[in-house]
Amino acid sequence: MHLAHYLGLLHKAQERLGDAFTEVGEAHREEPDVFHTCQKLATQCRGHAEKLAPFARRYAEDAPAEPDRLHSELFSGTRSGGLGLLRDLQDLYLMAAECDISWTVIGQAAYGARDEELLAVVKSCEQETAIQLKWLRTRMKQAAPQALVVAE
């Protein structure tokens, strides 16, 4: 059963997203809403990773060796200024999107594995990831015209 690999993928992706939320928030402390919301969402991501951990361990027992190139690197540090904020939020958006689709994939697997517990975790966490995506979209929409057309 390959489920463990996808659980590992999402676990790692949630941890990385949590760290990236923290880093982006810190880098843009002067945008208080970004700072405070990123802090909150970082905690949320770490919570997701924690909830996944026991399932990853359990399914690892039946898993074959991890395939190559399973994990991808989407974030390599923050930028500064208005344009930098926009770009950083875009990185977060792509990382959250990776988590979002992974929840869908794992949700399907949970049905296949008849794993009610895992399904419950997926259902609660995927909603929060969806709202993270929506918040990032909202905040980028707000920032884009001024950052791209007005600021020097």
Binding site: P32, D33, L41, K134, K141, P145, V149, V150, A151
Partner: protein, 815 residues
């Protein structure tokens, strides 16, 4: 005669449920004048708070000499708030601005209107040309201008320049009211009416010190409390305010925990079956999710989070659950606090699950703080589109484009409206280059003032200030425009309960001061804004013409003004919507429990209340609200700043009954100045003991952002909490330090944090971490804090009472 400084609420006129509130006419005429020698009485309403009290201005020899309440008005039945009784005297203040000022070599010097406007227009044209020119303009208005002025400025900004950077200080006072109403009911606008006080059997005051903020509404509540079958009363406030002292149940919760309390109360109501199952099923969406979220808030847990006795929370739930006609009122204790919109929506939830809307006594006031805040929201000089339109609804934007005859995409609907804190951030970063501030004083009223002063003083930022006096903000401006005020110009405005009043011009403004409307029209003419056919964008020249234009803009929307005229308003206030079908106005909304949530009609497609993430239009439509209201549910989360070892106490800020805003006017009326001359610091006796502080001692309050000094008042504020009034700036500071230089240790907002609610974007003024240090002994002198109101000393403290004496005597007569 009543000394309305010593007794701000005046004599009681008790009445019973369902009876008409008795008339009591309050008046005050200065300089030995009597009603017999008044030559003209000019209709107006209060401009120093949001209650909407109607009054007439007394004129002798083209000079205002006093005011008298209007006995026939539906809101006040003749009563007048002490701020209004005395505050008009500021109109005559010798330091009124009489000529425009411009900055020359670092100093503001007098000039003529052509020069001042010429500079603004030259800079505007320079900034407008080129891509993104719209983005260099920011407008920051007020909750104190008239509807006609907001509408005109809204058209200039949204259709002339096409900028989304327009907001008001309404963001600081009332944004959460609007956000909560939109989120629950689909559009802005109060469901209830002030007459609900006459019918209710329980009143819940959620973070609302109504006794000091809207004294006439409090008089109405007190008169019910002194009459037969009085309503029960619940107060939620960390301070021992007059409301808390009057209430049957007072929950002095820890600041920043409103959401936990409301979740707990809703859980109790649901568990005990104190809700209207049929109403919930037929008229709301989201009940299951609400039950799920509040389930996590049993009383014991809430008691812990809020630091309240569990029994008191149960008593509050019993009071709410046992009522048949519940009236709720919400204000800054919720709006300026942590999770503002979510907590305010929870109050809406109580009314929705109990079916407590749309009938006499079952009312809800998501209050405003300022007198014309409602109009700013309705007319679009802030982060809303005129006529409570939805900026994400293409049809709504197209209606405006047709009305104004401009291209749809000129109207900035392609990104969310820019809220005030973001406007200042863009100014800080340099992309907003012209900031026009009218009738407000951000250098005292915004959070983290050191930062605000830095922003306003940036040489690259061109700051225009339009006001009555050289305020702390005007001192930092590049151009200062002298404005006319209440009594010197004509316009209309709308109270919390949707009552529209007219305020007519009574006298000429001083010197060359001009009505704000004339200033905006002059700018439009000089900028030569044109519509799609090349005709002038703004076609009106005076207030009544604007009002007629506004009526067309409001047609078919919830705030429909089409059957209101200036002439009708001169004989009394009218509640919108007022149409040919409802020519006398509308007392209560949602009497049929059909809410404004239809996707084609609603003002917003909603947000996630925890993050502020916007719902997509398709998502909203998929919910198929069909006129049902939304029950929102969110978990409690701690405020962004909580006490630490370094800053162990919680700061909260607020008002006194004697002052308004940053005292621009009330600080220039003798009786009000004497009643509350100086800032102060409220401490609980337990905290004061630990700090070695006694009554009247000079203390320093420090936060990570700054420090203020004031004399301590030992009183009934909750342990662990420090209160500082927010009115006091620097223009009359005792050490004479001018704004922009010298000491800045007086304004409460030196301490407050730059953080805001994710949905309403209202700053969190009520929760900041501070420490208190004693600096000097009192020398036997008590704190200058009033002995009336929330700063009243503890029983037995030997402190002279706040009185006004003969200068404050005002007649009150029954009819």
């Amino acid at each position: 005669m009543v000394d309305r400084i010593a007794d701000p609420w005046g004599p009681r006129t008790p009445y019973g449920p369902g009876e008409r509130w008795p008339v009591r006419v309050d008046s005050f005429l200065a300089d030995g004048h009597t009603e017999a020698d008044v030559q003209r009485w000019v209709p107006s309403a209060s401009i120093l708070h949001s209650n909407g009290d109607a009054m007439d201005i007394a004129v002798v020899d083209d000079r205002i000499v006093g005011v008298r309440g209007r006995p026939g008005d539906r809101i006040n039945n003749g009563r007048v708030d002490p701020k209004d009784l005395y505050g008009w005297q500021a109109n005559h203040s010798p330091d009124r601005l009489r000529r425009p000022l411009v900055r020359e070599g670092g100093r503001l010097v007098e000039t003529d209107w052509d020069t001042a406007m010429g500079r603004i227009v030259a800079r505007s044209k320079e900034l407008r040309d080129g891509p993104g020119g719209w983005g260099h303009f920011g407008f920051y208005t007020s909750g104190q201008l008239f509807l006609e002025e907001y509408y005109t400025l809204g058209v200039i900004g949204k259709a002339g320049l096409g900028t989304p950077h327009m907001d008001g200080n309404t963001r600081l006072c009332t944004a959460t009211a609007a956000a909560a109403l939109k989120a629950s009911f689909g559009t802005d606008g109060q469901p209830g009416s002030y007459t609900d006080v006459d019918h209710c059997d329980a009143i819940a005051l959620w973070g609302h010190n109504v006794a000091e903020t809207q004294t006439v509404l409090w008089m109405r509540m007190l008169d019910r409390r002194r009459g037969p079958n009085p309503p029960a009363m619940l107060a939620v406030d960390p301070r021992a305010t007059p409301v808390a002292r009057e209430a049957d149940v007072h929950l002095a919760l820890r600041n920043g925990t409103n959401m936990a309390l409301l979740n707990g109360l809703l859980r109790e109501l649901i568990h005990r079956g104190w809700y209207d199952e049929e109403y919930v099923r037929a008229h709301t969406l989201g009940f299951e999710k609400l039950c799920e979220v509040v389930e996590d808030y049993p009383v014991a847990k809430v008691a812990e989070i809020c630091d309240l006795p569990a029994r008191d929370i149960e008593r509050a739930a019993e009071l709410l659950g046992g009522s048949e006609r519940l009236l709720s009122t919400v204000l800054q204790g919720f709006y300026q606090s942590n999770q503002a919109t979510a907590a305010s929506c929870q109050v809406n939830n109580i009314h929705l699950i109990r079916g407590m809307l749309g009938r006499p006594g079952a009312g809800l006031y998501q209050m405003n703080g300022q007198p014309t805040a409602q109009n700013n929201r309705e007319c679009g000089a802030d982060g809303d589109l005129p006529g409570l339109r939805n900026w994400e609804n293409e049809e709504h934007v197209a209606e405006l484009a047709k009305l104004w005859n401009v291209e749809v995409d000129t109207i900035p609907h392609w990104s969310p409206p820019t809220h005030a804190m973001q406007i200042f951030r863009y100014a800080e970063q340099g992309s907003i280059k012209l900031l026009w501030i009218s009738a407000t004083n951000p250098a005292v009223s915004l959070p983290d003032l050191a930062r605000i002063r830095r922003i306003l003083a940036q040489p690259e930022l061109f700051v225009v200030v339009q006001d009555l006096f050289l305020t702390e903000t005007a001192e930092l401006a590049d151009v200062v425009l002298p404005a006319a005020t209440w009594g010197e110009k004509t316009g209309t405005f709308t109270s919390v309960d949707r009552t529209v009043h007219i305020s007519d011009k009574a006298v000429e403004p001083p010197g060359e001061a001009r009505p704000d409307l004339d200033i905006f029209l002059d700018y439009a003419r000089r900028m030569d804004f044109r519509d799609s056919d090349g005709n002038p964008l703004i076609t009106w020249t005076g207030p009544e013409e604007v009002f007629e234009a506004w009526k067309e803009c409001s047609r078919g929307r919830p705030c429909d003004y089409t059957a209101i005229t200036y002439e009708r308003l001169r004989s009394g206030g009218i509640q919108w919507p007022c149409t040919d079908e409802q020519p006398d106005g509308t007392e209560r909304l949602y009497t049929d429990a059909v809410f404004n949530t239809d996707p084609d009609y609603c003002e917003s497609y909603g947000h996630d209340l925890a993050t502020g993430a916007e719902n997509l239009p398709e998502e909203y439509k998929a919910k198929q609200p069909g006129g049902r209201a939304f029950l929102h549910a969110v978990a409690y989360q701690p405020s962004p700043e909580v006490p630490s070892d370094d800053y162990p106490l919680l700061l909260t800020t607020g008002r006194t009954v004697y002052q308004f805003h940053t005292r621009t006017k009330t600080g220039r009326a003798t009786q009000l100045v004497h009643a509350a001359p100086e800032s102060w610091v409220e401490l609980n006796p337990a905290d004061a003991d630990k700090l070695g502080v006694g009554e009247g001692d000079l203390v320093r309050v420090e936060s990570p952002r700054g420090a203020v000094r004031g004399r301590a008042r030992i009183c009934g504020v909750r342990p662990g909490v420090v209160f500082v009034p927010f009115h006091y700036g620097y223009w009359d500071a005792a050490d004479g330090a001018a704004p922009g230089q010298g000491r800045h240790d007086r304004a409460a907002n030196e301490l407050t944090i730059t953080a805001w609610d994710p949905v309403s974007k209202q700053p969190i003024f009520k929760v900041a971490a501070v420490r208190v240090v004693k600096e000097a002994d009192s020398g036997g002198r008590p704190s200058p804090a009033p002995t009336v109101g929330g700063s009243a000393p503890l029983a037995g403290a030997d402190i002279p009472a706040t009185v006004g004496g003969p200068a404050a005597e005002a007649p009150s007569r029954g009819e």
